[in-house]
């Protein structure tokens, strides 16, 4: 039997909609929390009020939420052991410190610990038979007000909680549902009330009218952090970042004189320098426009070096945006060097979809992966630059520019492990830490974080241009982060001191 929450009509237990008012019954399946009695939607695993487990005992069968059978709306009862648990818990001193601050931010940590302790330490036993329960709710409700108090939330943050008509009833969602249900037919009076039902009704009423514990439940501890940064503080911080990025304009980028290439950069430059004229390099542009700002300068420096060493270059991409970037880059290089021609010195094969399976075909045949090239739409064998290059093994070096560690991992796992060649990964600084283990294990010959390596590469390759290193900016940015760290902690200490003086 299901009691319709809107009109109290008793429906057969397989009813999907109420026979009297036509409202849906599917979601009005509630389960009472074994420790605090709050009603929870049947799918909940934790009680929304006391965070205790709602995982039921063996008496109930569990099914997937999508096919929950419609059960009675009558809350299932906590057992004697549960009651003892609840009493014991209530008698125990409140766990965790009650935050004295009016900043919810500082309260967060304590809130978490309180909740954690409560939900971890109290575990209800299996549910017992209903007849054991006579007289139980009164005891439980007596115990309830002395439960560890949920930390208060400043009222100014949740004004709606104070004004809400249904204040304190949020655990008892059926009432809210009844209020929102627009049209109900006549409300039929239940024919006769059995003892259990009477008891249930009393329990329900007592929980509903008991303001004390529910008031705490109404102040749901939502981890809303007070805004730490005012609008002005934020603007100031952003201005500092902007200034840091513009430092070289004012300082003339003096620290770039201190620039000394790191070992990994030097070794890559040496590797490329040692390539004989006419050897071939495969470059994969596995990055999109978003991170192009970081990777492009390094890609340009390496591309120029390769062009100057008269090495054949074949470019491809596993990122849809990467092909456009490769083309743009090579247009720039070809514009600088008149005898650097498409099809003879370099070629762009195109976009290779489906990284894993696609990359694996590179080991067997380039022609299978790319039917035609990207720019001239000719078959690969028609391009002079592709002479003697049929699979990835025929290349002397493979360079991958990437903004996603997954694509580099695919190169290592799908291609490099199958056919041996030296693989250089030139990646964004953001993903470099994730690839370091592969460099340590020797699977990557070189691993360079792009951020400010373009200048270092130019120095190492001897192709130095009067281009911008923008070195000062990075130093300034480091300072900005340091200032941020100091500022936030000074602000924090000041708030704490103020609170302490208020407390006294």
């Amino acid at each position: 039997m299901i009691v319709c929450p809107a009109c109290n009509h008793r429906n057969p237990s397989d009813a999907l909609v109420c026979e009297a008012c036509g409202g849906s019954l599917e979601h009005f399946v509630y389960r009472a929390c074994p420790s605090c009695g709050a009603l929870n939607p049947a799918e909940n695993v934790f009680c929304h009020r006391c965070f205790d487990d709602l995982v039921p005992g063996s008496a109930e069968t569990i099914v997937e939420a999508s096919d929950i059978p419609v059960e009675s709306f009558v809350p299932s009862e906590p057992s004697v052991t549960d009651r003892e648990e609840a009493v014991r818990e209530a008698a125990a001193p409140p766990v965790g410190e009650r935050p004295t601050s009016d900043l919810i931010l500082e309260a967060d940590a304590e809130v978490a610990t309180t909740a954690e302790v409560v939900s971890e330490e109290t575990e209800p036993g299996p549910l017992a038979e209903p007849q054991q329960l006579v007289g139980e709710p009164i005891e439980r409700l007596e115990a309830a007000p002395s439960e560890p108090e949920a930390p208060m939330q400043p009222s100014e943050l949740i004004p709606e909680a104070e004004e809400d008509v249904l204040e304190g009833l949020e655990g008892l969602v059926p009432i809210a549902a009844a209020a929102t249900q627009a049209h109900a037919f006549a409300l039929p009076v239940p024919p006769s009330v059995s003892e259990t039902e009477q008891h249930d009704a009393e329990l329900f009423h007592s929980i509903a009218s008991e303001r004390g514990p529910l008031r705490d439940a109404a102040r749901v501890v939502i981890p809303r952090r007070a805004r730490l940064l005012s609008r002005r503080g934020r603007a100031l911080l952003y201005l500092l970042v902007l200034l840091a990025a513009l430092t070289p304009v004012f300082t003339g980028d003096r620290t770039s004189l201190l620039l000394r290439p790191r070992d990994s950069v030097t070794s890559l430059a040496r590797d490329i320098q040692s390539l004989p004229t006419g050897s071939a390099v495969l470059i994969s542009f596995d990055y999109g426009p978003a991170y192009a700002g970081e990777v492009d300068p390094l890609a340009l420096a390496v591309g120029r070096h390769l062009a100057a060493s008269q090495v054949r270059v074949v470019a491809m991409s596993t990122d849809p945006g990467g092909v456009g970037l490769a083309e743009h880059l090579y247009r720039t290089i070809a514009g600088e060097m008149p005898d650097y021609r498409y099809g003879e010195s370099y070629a762009i094969l195109g976009y290779l979809p489906g990284p894993e399976a696609g990359l694996r075909t590179l080991c067997t045949s380039l022609g299978k992966a790319f039917k035609v090239d990207y720019v001239q739409r000719r078959t690969l064998s028609e391009l002079p630059v592709m002479k003697d290059l049929t699979s990835v093994q025929d290349f002397d070096q493979v360079i991958v520019f990437a903004d996603d560690s997954r694509s580099v991992r695919s190169w290592i796992e799908q291609v490099q492990s199958q056919c041996n060649f030296s693989l250089h990964a030139l990646v964004t600084a953001a993903i470099e830490p994730m690839l370091l283990p592969y460099q340590q294990s020797g699977q990557l010959s070189t691993l360079i974080a792009a951020a400010h390596s373009a200048g270092e590469y130019e120095k190492a390759s001897g192709m130095e241009e009067p281009s911008l290193h923008w070195t000062d900016a990075y130093g300034a940015f480091c300072l900005v982060l340091l200032v941020t760290a100091i500022a936030t902690n000074v602000a924090y200490l000041r708030t704490r001191a103020r609170q302490r003086s208020h407390g006294q």
């Binding site: 575990e123 603007a235 990025a245 720039t332 923008w470």
Partner: protein
């Protein structure tokens, strides 16, 4: 239809499009950067333009690179490429999701997608990550393997940290929380202590990744400013563009 304006554009002086493009790019860059000082109409314009262009560009790419070539193959050699036909029909069923009444037809292609994805995730997670990462954490912690005498003792610290750290970090994710019985409580305490160390290591890892990402983002910001100052305003002199 679109050829005419394209031809018309081709008759313009060679640099016109490039110069116009640089101006458009610079103005859009400024509009986007203006978000730093709070939301404003210029940023909202840039945002909507980006959302529209990205979707249009991706859809065009999907059509040109994925669908059109396969459709051609299917029409040319239906006997060899019949399976493309199957997926095209499934794809059309997926499009039925857009309409309320026939939405249920989309369940079949979604079943195919979820099944394939689940197998890829399971196989990849197992053979690509789980087993290789466990193998990678198997390091000798015998000082004799790393050098003679105190040198070996110095070098063995790293593998010990890696192995113990991996175990601790893995423990930090343990879900179970049974407390009944004294033995269980002991186990619980052990898991908590080791997991606490693991959480510390995870936080170190987060700190390092946070810093690296910050550097990455700053490099991107620099490149935008260099574009504005050098390519647009021509304030900075460099030998090459």
């Amino acid at each position: 239809m679109l050829e005419t304006p394209a031809n018309l554009l081709a008759t313009l002086p060679p640099n016109t499009l490039q110069i116009a493009g640089t101006w458009v790019a610079a103005l859009l860059t400024l509009a986007t950067l203006s978000y730093v000082f709070g939301g404003n109409p210029a940023f909202r314009l840039a945002e909507h333009l980006l959302v529209g262009i990205a979707a249009g560009y991706a859809a065009a790419l999907a059509w040109n690179q994925m669908l059109w070539p396969r459709l051609q193959l299917l029409v040319a050699e239906p006997a060899t490429y019949w399976y493309y036909g199957v997926f095209f029909v499934l794809g059309l069923l997926l499009l039925c999701r857009g309409s309320k009444s026939v939405s249920v037809l989309g369940n079949l292609p979604l079943g195919v997608l979820f099944g394939t994805g689940a197998a890829l995730a399971l196989g990849g997670g197992l053979t690509g990550t789980f087993i290789p990462q466990i193998r990678a954490s198997v390091l000798s912690v015998n000082p004799a393997d790393y050098g003679e005498g105190s040198l070996g003792w110095a070098y063995v610290i790293d593998p010990i940290i890696v192995v113990a750290g991996t175990i601790a970090a893995l423990t930090a994710f343990h879900f179970g929380a049974r407390t009944d019985g004294r033995l269980r409580a002991l186990w619980r305490g052990l898991v908590r202590a080791v997991g606490g160390v693991g959480r510390g290591l995870i936080t170190i890892c987060f700190g390092a990744l946070f810093a690296s990402a910050a550097l990455s983002f700053f490099a991107i910001l620099n490149s935008r400013l260099v574009f504005l100052l050098r390519d647009w305003l021509k304030l900075l002199y460099t030998g090459r563009p």
